[in-house]
């Protein structure tokens, strides 16, 4: 037996090891249909029975789980849900077929929704459908899942999740699924690791007995070799101990062992990244990547769409500073219709601010939306890939022109501070030459441009090291320039979350780090151990 490695998408962090429980839903019809009146009565009774079962489950739950079950009750109590099924029954259809057909049509409507949140409700509708079918067909409820199991399935319903005892570990592996589903929200809330999008889980002979789940990386190993298992168990015990300590301190300020207060900001791509988090875990948002707004499928976003998104993020931050980076397309982030195809070296081509200045109509729209959003909180605007001061000056002139135009029309707006991302060595070496409102060091690109080594080329990956003295010297120069000019400086690349570099980065004089939300607890715990 050889171990099998699969990679999916992380939906809930954490590590787990346990026996594999393969979920299959068998809801075969085992009944003889009666006349339409009997069938209608049977469906009515099954719907009422399902509603009562859910109401009993709600009694035992609270918070998010209770809300989700209440949604299912509200749907079941609404006559609109089953009216099509009763109509089909009156023309002779058996109750279970009629119900299944109507619910499957409803589910198809959700599955085709554009909005991820509505697609993610498929699980709830399937749950409703199957609970009523079980009532109709008299099938025994699916066998209870033993606590501590790794559930492997195409998808899993919220009520199955809630009915499972997660107190002694376990995890969820889904062939399909979504990190926005109710189950994923529940899994995150309960600390159950979950990986979705693993693709078809088909076993050649029989299903695997044991699985190792890494909910941080979104990976799973089935039937591990003893050595793989031993290493994983070691990682787990270390991680568990660290997490217990870190979680306790997540909402507290980050303070080094020698008493320095470090500002912790978040890197996000969309409001969804933080929507279910308490803003108290951070001191603000250090980087909002706006590329997601410009994904090809939707075309270029209009001013109103951008304004609404920016504004919602500011609302979430409750007055804490929010740094939004203007479109950073190009390089490894092509956007069709905007970026240039076929550049011989896209990382040295028309990307970031260069592209924005070359396509001012797209850039001005974004600046206008940002200036309007600035009224609603503490907004800062950051320009990516700046190499020379004239780029900042040209961007500033464009921003000023848009603000003037908005004011002339009587539209509420404010002037956000305009800062630069320091990721080109030229900008780091001469940081003091820029009249920037603030600096934010983009350590990923700064490292690859300084070391002339890409992260995704394995043969040179060891050169791509932010801890290299050359890169650290550029960081220190930037920090010094910021201090001399009396403006803020932060670091928002992956290095900020690399706890093996924390001490080194703080030694350059940095006092602000920006990381993804999942990294906050660990970073704060590491900072607490830093002595000069």
């Amino acid at each position: 037996m050889t171990e099998i490695h699969l990679t999916g998408r992380a939906a809930s962090p954490g590590l787990a090891i346990g026996p594999v429980a393969v979920l299959t839903v068998a809801l075969e019809s085992r009944r003889t249909p009666g006349d339409p009146a009997q069938e209608a009565a049977a469906l009515k009774a099954a719907i009422e029975g399902a509603t009562t079962e859910l109401a009993e489950l709600i009694e035992a739950e609270q918070g998010e789980a209770a809300d989700i079950l209440e949604f299912q009750v509200a749907m079941l109590e609404d006559d609109a849900l089953a009216e099509g099924a009763f109509a089909a029954i009156s023309t002779g259809a058996p109750a279970d077929q009629a119900w299944r057909a109507v619910l499957d049509a409803e589910i198809a409507g959700y599955r085709s929704a554009e909005d991820e949140y509505f697609r993610a409700r498929v699980g709830d509708l399937v749950d409703i459908r199957d609970r009523v079918l079980v009532g109709l067909n008299g099938a025994a409820q699916s066998t209870a899942i033993r606590g501590g199991s790794i559930i492997a399935s195409d998808d899993i319903s919220p009520s199955t999740f809630i009915a499972t005892d997660w107190r002694c570990g376990g995890a969820i592996l889904l062939a399909a699924g979504s990190s926005s589903s109710h189950v994923a929200m529940l899994a995150r809330a309960r600390g159950t690791p979950m990986v979705v999008g693993l693709g078809p889980l088909s076993w050649e002979a029989r299903p695997p007995a044991l699985a190792l789940v890494d909910g941080d990386a979104g990976t799973v190993v089935f039937d591990p070799e003893p050595e793989t298992r031993r290493l994983f168990e070691h990682r787990m015990s270390v991680a568990n101990a660290a997490r217990a300590v870190a979680d306790a301190g997540r909402a507290k300020p980050a303070i080094t062992a020698d008493g320095r207060r470090i500002t912790i900001l978040l890197n996000i791509a969309a409001l969804e990244d933080v929507a279910d988090l308490d803003p108290a875990i951070c001191d603000g948002i250090g980087l909002v990547r706006t590329e997601f707004l410009f994904e090809a499928s939707h075309g270029l976003p209009d001013e109103e769409t951008q304004y609404t998104v920016y504004r919602r993020i500011l609302d979430w931050a409750e007055g804490r500073p929010v740094t939004i980076r203007t479109l950073d397309a190009g390089g490894d982030k092509p956007i069709s219709g905007l970026t240039v195809d076929g550049e011989s070296n896209p990382f040295l081509g028309l990307r970031g601010i260069r592209l924005s200045l070359a396509r001012p109509e797209v850039f001005r729209l974004q600046l206008r939306a940002l200036a309007r959003a600035a009224v609603h909180g503490t907004l800062k605007v950051m320009l990516p890939m700046v190499a020379v001061p004239s780029e900042l000056d040209r961007a500033r002139n464009l921003l000023d022109a848009e603000i003037e135009a908005l004011r002339a029309k009587g539209i509420a707006c404010a002037r956000p501070p305009l800062g630069i991302m320091v990721e080109v060595p030229a900008a780091a070496l001469r940081a003091g030459d820029f009249e920037a409102g603030f600096y934010s060091i983009g350590s990923n690109d700064l490292t690859q441009y300084t070391m002339a080594a890409a992260r995704d080329i394995g043969a040179v990956a060891d050169l791509n090291d932010t801890g290299n003295p050359a890169v650290l010297a550029l960081i220190a120069l930037t920090v010094e320039a910021a201090r001399a000019r009396g403006v803020e400086v932060s670091l928002c690349g992956d290095a900020a979350a690399d706890t093996s570099l924390t001490k080194t980065l703080l030694a350059t004089g940095l006092t602000t780090l920006s990381v993804s939300p999942v990294a906050v607890a660990r970073l704060k715990a590491t900072i607490a151990t830093v002595n000069p």
């Binding site: 609404d78 409803e106 909005d115 949140y117 509505f118 709830d124 609404t308 919602r312 609302d315």
Partner: protein, 104 residues
């Protein structure tokens, strides 16, 4: 945030209309829909919602139908209300939207 153009008519026969932007993070989905329908059911007036000022209109008391509207975050939601307690009903549903359904 909240762009209410309540047009008032004499007494009850002409429906009241208003609109508001969905400011809560995820649009009119599971929990917001339940809250909206629960609120709407507390009034005798007929309450309908739409994504455009001229409809199509959806019964705001049916969670199944409200979910079918799939109103995303940032959408402008239009209300049409008719009935003796229409004033209070409109104020209540608008307050709910304005408040982000308590989840903003």
């Amino acid at each position: 945030m909240h762009d209410v153009n309540a047009s008032r008519a004499s007494k009850t026969s002409v429906p009241l209309t208003a609109s508001a932007v969905l400011v809560n993070p995820v649009g009119l989905h599971a929990r917001p829909s339940v809250k909206l329908t629960q609120c709407a059911k507390g009034f005798a007036a007929t309450i309908e919602i739409a994504l455009a000022p001229d409809g199509p209109w959806t019964d705001a008391k049916s969670p199944v139908k409200v979910m079918r509207v799939k109103a995303p975050q940032g959408a402008m939601l239009y209300f049409r209300v008719a009935g003796s307690d229409g004033d209070a009903a409109l104020a209540a549903v608008l307050a709910l939207v304005h408040d982000g359904f308590g989840e903003a």
